[in-house]
């Protein structure tokens, strides 16, 4: 992506900026469509119809929400810590946005081919934690503070099972680069990691159950990292009103929402890269069979986005099915269940990969 634009313009700054705009647009689109879909899916699950009066099928609902939020008064409580209060949404959004730098949308469409891609994404997500703590603390509201504490504790602990599963995958693939991980699971779905990876042999079939376990663990823990039900206790509305962003309104609140939906897509992308072949098509490429080479990156981008959205849909589906856990149960799920399973999984995968 960067290289392509650099070739086109020949200017480092312009090409950097253009490359950076791409994920921003993506986050916006994900949020706009995501909120709409969330409302529609919750409606369908609950035998309702959902927004349908703003534009055809209510398609412009989120647009209207967005425009409305822009014109809301920026009411701030009196006893807040102004600087941190204003900085917090930016920081949260940065954490989400930075992650997009390393996500390969297709073999061509990638912000930066960092060698440590997956680690980078795990690392920058900690900015989100700092932002959340900042928001909770500066709001001078007990609910917000409690929500922020819960959220930070949750994200920090759930990073461990995520990292453990990522570690097992890294061990198997021998690289940290998301592009390479995607590349190694060549097209066709039977080559995906969830089905044992591209290399044929005994180990492929031995791996499958452990891959599924790994997938479940990382799916659950990323769900927790983006604070989705059943792990949405930081913003548990029945307990904490709205958690750490209780006191935020208008665009600042919108930034939290953008970050949330952006993160949802990011973690879905990670899951699909690690286990579901990343940007690879499950059935081979039209471009290959037709002999149109330039089509392939677009097809890849399509498949990648499709996979990302699929997991977002699953997240929404889960959200509208399950109750939420309590804060200590959340921790015990992480420390007593996910981490032991993940460690065992790691060891077993290590042994199998040595075979």
């Amino acid at each position: 992506m960067y290289q392509f634009i650099y070739d086109l313009t020949g200017n480092v700054i312009i090409s950097t900026l253009v490359t950076a705009v791409f994920p921003l647009v993506n986050v916006l689109i994900v949020a706009l469509i995501g909120v709409y879909l969330e409302r529609k899916i919750s409606a369908w699950i609950q035998d309702r119809v959902g927004p349908n009066r703003v534009g055809p099928f209510g398609l412009f609902q989120t647009v209207a929400d967005f425009i409305k939020m822009m014109q809301k008064e920026d009411a701030t409580p009196t006893d807040i810590d102004g600087k941190l209060y204003n900085l917090a949404p930016v920081l949260v959004f940065t954490g989400c946005f930075a992650a997009y730098a390393a996500i390969p949308f297709s073999s061509q469409l990638i912000g930066s081919e960092v060698e440590v891609g997956i680690f980078f994404i795990l690392a920058v997500s900690s900015f989100t934690v700092a932002g959340i703590l900042m928001a909770g603390w500066s709001s001078n509201n007990k609910y917000a503070l409690l929500g922020a504490m819960r959220s930070a504790a949750q994200i920090v602990s759930y990073e461990i099972p995520t990292a453990l599963v990522v570690l097992s995958m890294v061990m198997l693939m021998g690289t940290l680069s998301l592009t390479k991980i995607s590349e190694m699971q060549t097209a066709y779905f039977w080559n995906w990691n969830i089905l044992g990876g591209a290399t044929l042999g005994l180990s492929k079939f031995l791996l499958i159950p452990f891959m599924i376990v790994g997938f479940i663990i990382i799916f659950i823990s990323t769900l927790a990292e983006v604070n989705r039900t059943p792990f949405d206790i930081p913003e548990a509305e029945s307990e904490l009103v709205a958690g750490y962003f209780t006191e935020y309104c208008g665009m600042k609140w919108a930034m939290f929402m953008l970050a949330e939906y952006g993160n949802m897509f990011a973690v879905s992308a990670i899951v699909s890269i690690l286990f579901f072949g990343g940007y690879h098509s499950p059935f081979g490429y039209l471009g290959n069979s037709l002999g149109i080479n330039w089509l392939i990156p677009y097809e890849q981008a399509f498949w990648f986005v499709a996979k990302g959205w699929f997991f977002i849909l699953v997240q929404m589906w889960l959200r509208w099915t399950l109750p939420r856990l309590r804060v200590d149960q959340l921790m015990s799920l992480c420390w007593k269940y996910l981490i032991p399973y993940a460690v065992v999984n790691l060891v077993v995968i290590g042994i199998i990969s040595l075979l």
């Binding site: 060698e115 680690f119 690392a123 900690s126 700092a130």
Partner: protein, 165 residues
């Protein structure tokens, strides 16, 4: 001066200024958040040195772990946010003398060292080399550190679990 220099100076400025604030600001929470930016700047400089793995680990460990822990501690102790930390003027003199000596030493080293400025080819990926080094040459240190961390973990857990009197 090319783009990288500009970026370097930006990161350096972020690091130095926010480090200054960490020390001088009277609000503990503010110091903690400025520390965040210091870490961020340092990570940026690591990236410019082509040590991307270290940079990422820097952010992951220091921002994601230590800083959050720090913030937790500060926020949980309710009242500390309202108490100004005393930056006692009485100790200003000995402190500045000590810092001055240290600074002098550092600057003299910087000035008198015979710096070789020849371009070194940066390794494509530091991760692999790091990994193999850790498990071959430095395996003893690595293991020792691991044991140390384990002891710390167990100790912390046992303290935390002790019944309240």
């Amino acid at each position: 001066m090319n783009y990288y220099d500009i970026i370097f100076y930006i990161f350096a400025l972020i690091t130095v200024i926010s480090a200054g604030f960490v020390v001088t600001t009277r609000n503990v929470i503010y110091s903690a958040f400025f520390l965040l930016f210091t870490f961020f700047g340092v990570a940026g400089i690591y990236v410019l040195l082509a040590a991307d793995f270290i940079a990422v680990v820097q952010i992951m460990v220091y921002v994601g772990g230590i800083l959050i822990l720090l913030l937790f501690g500060v926020m949980l102790t309710n009242k500390i946010t309202n108490v100004d930390i005393r930056t006692g003027t009485g100790h200003l003199l000995p402190a500045s003398v000590a810092v001055g000596i240290l600074m002098g030493a550092v600057i003299s080293i910087m000035v008198y060292t015979d710096w070789k400025s020849q371009p070194v080819e940066t390794p494509v990926t530091t991760v692999k080399i790091l990994g193999s080094l850790l498990l071959t040459d430095y395996v003893l240190v690595f293991e020792l550190l691991g044991i140390l961390l384990l002891i710390a973990l167990i100790g912390a857990a046992s303290i935390a679990r002790r019944e309240k009197e």
